[in-house]
């Protein structure tokens, strides 16, 4: 059993400590409870652009020096942005714990004095290149963006992906940065997780020293997301420079952690994972009408989604492929799943989770997620319980209720000349 200690500083910062001396490493991870869902219209992509800015220095740390401090002692570091959260992390030789806390506290409390227009302009260009590299210049690169556009109403902020639009990235100003920082980047909106080779009493002293004097913010702005259920399937066909058609689907689910979400997670393994999974076996192995097929749920806090995609073989028509997918889902709902299928799906969940908490850095991230989304980092001990408790009927029940046409958005990518 992992030793998990958690407490709150006077300014509201939540702290989680997981002592583990198996390697001379320490992972420091900060989750801010802000993501692209908190962006306003006309500023999509802003939370992620902001994440880049937090690597460009703070009052006592020069531009690019954050990377240099960490890398020059053999540390690794990065940050990521998603709908509901932004995380920043470093993993270092454990005798450098104080360095990581100094760096993270400086950007939490003393970021604005170092902000310049030039830094913003450079990072804006870098993020635009990120968009080109990962979305615009690769086949199917805009599929997720298209699905979100289709699957969520324009007033629901999962309507756009974290990368945002080129136009909105261009519009971001220094004032936007200052406002966003003041609103969301504050100790009472963050979880600091430390995992690894440290002495808890020393760690607590250091955390107090570096973080306790950072002021909390005022009241949080009113922010609520009200998702309307789909009132029928939403579909589009999109002509892109691709060799083969691909079907993308997004099914609405309850939020991560909900019983139905967990059952849908297991169901996605039964549907598409290894060669023996339903869709792989039927579409790729037996009928040979698909090049590949995938199904998975995303770890999202505000609402849940199951994504499914399948690439048609050359000459295979997408209607035939869609029908084959729906036939398999119908067969599963009507005939149920076997105990062996359920056991394999549970095994995979167990192994995936064991891998996720095997390393200090990914364990710290998992703890930060549980503390942020569920308010309880000790859920790490119980995360698999609802998975183990699931029955075959639970999975077919979720398939019957959620994997229906009226609950999905479908985007069909076809080669340009076929449009």
């Amino acid at each position: 059993m992992l030793s998990i200690e958690h407490y709150r500083l006077g300014n509201g910062l939540r702290v989680v400590l997981n002592e583990d001396h198996s390697a001379p490493l320490v992972a420091v991870n900060v989750w801010y409870h802000v993501g692209s869902k908190n962006e306003r219209r006309g500023r999509t992509g802003f939370a992620h652009l902001f994440e880049h800015m937090l690597f460009s220095g703070s009052e006592h740390v020069g531009n690019n020096e954050h990377f240099r401090y960490v890398q020059s002692i053999g540390g690794v570091l990065n940050g990521t942005t998603f709908f509901d959260r932004t995380n920043y992390y470093e993993m270092l030789p454990s005798n450098y714990l104080a360095l990581a806390l100094w760096l993270e506290s400086d950007r939490m409390g003393f970021f604005l004095p170092a902000l310049t227009q030039e830094k913003l302009d450079i990072q804006r260009e870098v993020v635009k290149e990120e968009r080109r590299q990962r979305y615009d210049n690769v086949p199917y690169g805009t599929a997720f963006e298209r699905l979100l556009n289709l699957g969520y109403d324009a007033d629901y902020s999962y309507h756009w992906p974290t990368i945002g639009s080129m136009e909105d990235l261009g519009a971001a100003s220094l004032d936007d940065i200052r406002e966003f920082f003041g609103t969301w980047y504050r100790p009472d909106n963050a979880v600091l997780t430390v995992v690894g080779d440290f002495s808890p009493s020393e760690a607590k002293e250091l955390i107090e020293k570096y973080f306790a004097d950072i002021a909390p913010g005022g009241t949080f702005p009113k922010f609520s997301l009200e998702r309307r259920p789909l009132d029928g399937e939403r579909r589009e066909q999109f002509a892109d420079r691709v060799q083969l058609p691909r079907i993308y689907r997004l099914y609405h689910l309850p939020r991560m952690g909900d019983r139905d979400w967990i059952h849908a997670d297991l169901l996605s393994t039964v549907l598409a994972s290894d060669k023996a999974s339903r869709l792989d076996r039927a579409l790729v192995h037996e009928q040979q009408i698909a090049q590949d097929v995938a199904a998975y749920v995303l770890p999202t806090e505000s609402t849940g989604m199951l994504l499914l995609h399948a690439t048609a073989k050359e000459g295979v028509d997408t209607e035939k492929l869609e029908k084959a997918i729906d036939d398999e889902i119908a067969r599963l709902v009507a005939g149920g799943i076997t105990e062996d299928e359920l056991t394999r799906a549970k095994n995979r969940a167990e192994v995936d989770f064991a891998h996720q908490i095997e390393n200090h850095d990914t364990r710290a991230d998992t703890i930060g997620m549980l503390a942020t989304y569920f308010g309880d980092p000790t859920m790490i001990h119980r995360w698999l319980d609802p998975y183990q408790a699931a029955s075959a009927a639970d999975l077919t029940d979720v398939a019957a209720r959620y994997l229906v046409a009226s609950n999905r958005a479908t985007s069909v990518f076809v080669p340009t000349e076929a449009a």
Binding site: S22, A23, P24, L25, E59, H60, N64, F67, R68, Y69, Q71, S72, I73, G74, G75, V76, M91, L92, P93, N95, A98, L99, W102, F110, D121, I122, E125, V126, V127, E129, E130, R132, Q133, D136, N137, V138, P139, D197, D213, R241, V242, L244, D274, K275, A276, R281, Q291, K313, E314, D340, T343, R344, N347, R348, V351, H355, I357, E358, N359, H360
Partner: protein
């Protein structure tokens, strides 16, 4: 402002790191067995390493090593493909197979309580693969479809054209997956012949890392793998790189491109190169890590790219040295100029103490962070076996990196980096980048994405 924030805090005393103890033995059939204990999670990683990869592909059958590896999980021993997947799933494992230039692999990561039955399945996959006919047709078709899909992927196109211009049609000149032409030509007999010639215990190693007891593993390996029979060692392959006497530019036209995929480089060195350590430090400083010169220049100074990197592909024979950067169309020429300037500058010996220290400290310090999981440890043992590294390699790694000096950097840069005889490949929108690239004053050729000249 309080004083303690003004400067970075000092470190405490370093704590010692020790790479896990490795137990080695060789079975009577020549199979080497390596076991490393790691009890941090109830998992075990088991891998068969076959020391033949796509470098053994006959040129006209490029892709046969990869196709053979792809077929390993399509049936083995008494199980067909579905049964294999089902049984591994019931053990809480996942099976992966594949090949790269130097080797083929079969690996299973599994709950450690199921190590024994897993070893038996891995043995089946390693030397009792059934390579069935119906699976062959399907899997070959899947590879041909992969090749077709790569026509849309700018980084795949850049990699293929770069390799082919550097190494011709022989070893390292194709991609591991092969071409439409060569894969179409491969028959099931070719695959079965490849399997028989190369999947031999005396050409292989079994690597086990994780929550296991070394004696138990030795016993079960002996049982499961003893029936694998020896064969003659396959002959060593050769490469035939195309020497260049001056730099040249190849534009691969992709009219829909919103970025140029740039590749700049030349033939590098084999993994066995005596200058491996100074080269590793030199490359890390030049373009191997985030805070390297090329990335800081192109990304953080100019905002041309999301990321630029340089790398030596240390393979059994001399793989390429290449700088890779995707940049927006408008700054293609500027990016090429900056990269060439960095390649020239590193050769002059202009290296600051601080950047050398930072780089060495990074390489020495980061090692424990890269070998946390059993799967990571298995990967390191695999390198050791594949490249014949000494048993104390990981224990002496820090010392070897620590010994690299500024003089070494200058010497290896001058010896192994050659910006005046570089191959420059740019996959991008030719109409937009042709003229700017012309101002480099280098000969320019234009090709289509399959490498055919455009008149």
């Amino acid at each position: 402002m309080t004083d303690f924030r003004a400067t970075a805090p000092l470190p405490g005393p370093p704590r010692k790191y020790q790479f896990p103890h490795v137990t080695r033995r060789t079975l009577p059939n020549g199979l080497r067995v390596l076991v490393a204990e790691n009890h941090t999670a109830p998992l075990v990683s088991m891998r068969t390493l076959v020391r033949s990869g796509a470098d053994r592909d006959p040129a006209e059958l490029a892709g046969v090593a990869g196709l053979t590896a792809d077929l390993l999980d399509e049936g083995a021993g008494s199980r067909d493909a579905i049964r294999l997947a089902e049984d591994i799933g019931l053990l809480g494992g996942s099976l992966g197979t594949g090949a790269d230039w130097d080797a083929a692999y079969a690996s299973i990561d599994v709950l450690s309580r199921n190590a024994r039955p897993t070893a038996e399945i891995l043995a089946d996959v390693s030397f009792r693969a059934t390579l069935p006919e119906d699976a062959f047709d399907r899997v070959r078709n899947e590879r041909l479809t992969d090749i077709l899909q790569q026509r849309d992927e700018p980084s795949a196109i850049a990699g293929k054209r770069f390799a082919s211009l550097l190494y011709g049609t022989g070893v390292y000149g194709n991609s591991v997956i092969g071409t439409n032409e060569t894969v179409s030509r491969i028959t099931l007999d070719d695959v079965r012949r490849y399997y028989a010639q190369h999947y031999l215990p005396n050409n292989s190693s079994l690597i086990v890392a994780g929550d296991v007891d070394p004696d138990d593993v030795a016993n079960l390996a002996e049982k499961a793998f003893a029936a694998w029979t020896r064969g003659p060692e396959p002959p060593a392959p050769k490469i035939a790189p195309q020497p260049f006497d001056s730099s040249r530019v190849y534009i691969i036209d992709r009219p829909q491109a919103v970025q140029s995929e740039i590749r700049i480089g030349h033939v590098g060195v084999p993994r066995s190169c005596e200058d491996y350590f100074p080269l590793s430090v030199m490359n890390a400083l030049l373009g191997g890590v985030f805070n390297s010169r090329i990335n800081l220049n192109l990304r953080e100074k100019h905002g041309y790219t999301y990321g630029a990197r340089s790398a030596f592909s240390f393979r059994r024979m001399a793989g390429p040295f290449v700088v890779a950067a995707p940049v927006r169309n408008e700054v293609t020429r500027e990016s090429v100029t900056e990269i060439l300037a960095e390649l020239r500058r590193i050769r002059t010996g202009d290296v600051e103490d601080r950047e050398l220290d930072d780089t060495k400290n990074y390489l020495m310090g980061v090692f424990p962070a890269t070998v946390q999981s059993s799967s990571d440890i298995a990967g390191r043992l695999l390198d050791m076996e594949l490249y014949g590294l000494p048993e104390d390699y990981f224990d002496r790694y820090r010392e070897n990196i620590g010994a690299v000096s500024k003089d070494h950097i200058a010497r290896v840069a001058e010896k192994y980096i050659d910006p005046d005889r570089a191959l420059i490949v740019v996959v991008g929108h030719a109409a937009q980048i042709r003229e700017p690239l012309g101002s480099l004053g280098l000969p320019i050729h234009e090709l289509d994405i399959e490498g055919a000249p455009i008149a």
